[in-house]
Symmetry: C2
Subunit: 333 residues, 2 copies
């Protein structure tokens, strides 16, 4: 098992990526290929280069966060994210992990590996922590301007991933809108709803933002703009709430004692909200395993993203998804 | 001071609305006019009808949650929400509070009172709790399909409300998108950004979902679909986190003792997340004060919505907003 990691992506540069990759290699027994500027990567590895589980694959170019993804990918054939996907295409790696520009990751993945049959627009699926189990939110940023048919395809992919990889049986699919009634929502959602209703998916109708956490639904479909906002709202709120809780608990001696006695419970609570624990989000619909990590990923998030890629490869996610997608072929495109 | 309350709106029917209105009348010294089916309202009031602070204003019709707002308002001249706005128009009430169909509230408000000069699309502004101060999110549901110019107008209204009513000086305005770079976002946001950049608003650029909680920004602008999803995500997450925290704290004897000692701090923490404390969201841009409450409002939320309407009337919000809007007239429409 070899996972190609784009060492140049992410808001904090190669420092964090290299550290997370080294952790993954030593702790998870996964071989990691770091793709990027070799000198820089070697410098970051420093004296940690211990075992043979890490390889550096040199390339000359990098896609910056503020570049237009499509243009950047076209004019930089030696960009780290393209080279990482090349490794998968040529059978030298089994999956890609990137914390870089997610639009560029998508573009490079489509250009290099192509799409699974029936998929017009690959999409990023993210897991949102909630009280019981978890919910898949798809798309969280790959496609910002979507047509209704794209939303329907996200539903089919979310269903396939949940069924094939998360062992959910006939997961309930909801369409993210601003009211449960069919008349609510924007034009895009109203038309997508019709497609879902005509399909054999276990479609439960419109769901609202709050149902992501409390609703009886396993897959929530939305366009990449709305999904990205929703996901980042949960992130920001998780952090803000953890601080607010600390602040309240520090106000009196009594509650500080209480805080001390509850410290283990409070730590577990924070962990349940910490995105680093989840690692990354699968980019679904490509002919290859790809995990998109948060731009601001910590080393722990990168490590867990690599773990997730490895698990998806081991579970033969692609084959299973192809079978599932095939089941819905009549309804696609 | 007399606030007209649509007694028929809301998911839980007149029970909750009447209870909240009676609480407001007795606790806040505000006169409340309950608009709706008189017999039903009188039945809900029961023996609580104590002082002269509550009037019932009968009407025959109600807009249901699943009706098309515009059609319903046009064909039901005697709908409770229309009659409530009529009371304001005719000088018999100073403001309207509704927990009903927010599209219908908007349509009735425009039809009955009209819009402030320079405003093409009234919008709902909501307050999101965060660690320090609060942030205004506009629009959270009045306009689901927006043009870039509408987003700009929401910014002007948010700025006017923050300046005139919340005493914020030159508030920082951000445009909700999925990346800070100008190239990120959908077409609508990219074009709106140009309008903001050309204006004299204190525009800080794109902000992301997480910046609602942590960013150095006081007004966050988005279309009503995205804003509504974001708002309901915060609601759902607040509730889910409160339960998750309880669950973790109940796992061991030690943490249960800790929970007991910290109970006051934990209660304050929950309160900071409880939307009922905030009451409702001002519907900005009408020639009248209107507060939109959550469909699932508790009596406490209705009471606080009425309080908010009263405060906005007392603070002469409309006059102040007109002045502020006038300052930006060159940039509007």
């Amino acid at each position: 098992m070899n996972i190609a990691v784009d060492a140049m992506g992410g808001d904090h540069g190669p420092d964090v990526i290299v550290q997370g990759a080294l952790d993954a290699a030593s702790e998870l027994g996964v071989h990691v290929t770091l793709v990027g500027l070799e000198d820089l990567i070697r410098e970051k590895i420093g004296h940690r280069q211990a075992d043979g589980n890490v390889t550096v694959h040199h390339c000359e170019e990098v896609v910056e966060m503020d570049e237009s993804p499509l243009k950047a990918i076209r004019k930089k054939p030696d960009a780290s994210i393209r080279v990482a996907f090349n490794l998968v295409r040529d059978g030298n790696a089994d999956g890609v992990v990137s914390a870089g520009n997610s639009g560029a990751t998508l573009a490079a993945g489509i250009l290099t590996l192509g799409r699974l049959e029936g998929v017009e627009r690959p999409a990023i699926a993210s897991f949102v922590p909630r009280e019981r189990g978890r919910v898949i939110l798809i798309d969280v940023g790959a496609n910002v301007d979507c047509r209704p048919a794209h939303l329907f395809q996200f539903g089919v992919m979310g269903n396939a991933y949940a069924t094939a990889c998360l062992m959910m049986q006939d997961p309930k699919i909801g369409l993210l809108s601003i009211g449960e009634e069919g008349s609510k929502g924007n034009d895009q959602v109203r038309l997508a709803r019709e497609l879902f209703e005509e399909s054999r998916l276990n479609f439960v109708g419109n769901v609202e933002g709050r149902d992501i956490f409390s609703g009886d639904v396993q897959v929530v479909v939305c366009d990449g703009f709305v999904g990205n906002v929703a996901l980042k709202v949960t992130e920001g709120m998780g952090q803000a709430m953890t601080s607010m809780l600390k602040e309240e608990l520090n106000r009196s001696l009594m509650s500080r004692i209480g805080r001390f006695l509850s410290r283990k419970a409070l730590r577990l609570f924070s962990q349940r909200l910490d995105y680093a624990e989840y690692g990354g989000a699968p980019l679904l619909g490509l002919k290859g395993v790809a995990i998109v990590c948060h731009g601001g990923s910590s080393p722990r998030a990168i490590r867990n993203g690599i773990r997730q890629a490895a698990v998806n490869v081991e579970n033969q996610v692609l084959d299973k998804m192809s079978v599932e997608l095939n089941n819905f072929r009549d309804f696609m495109v």
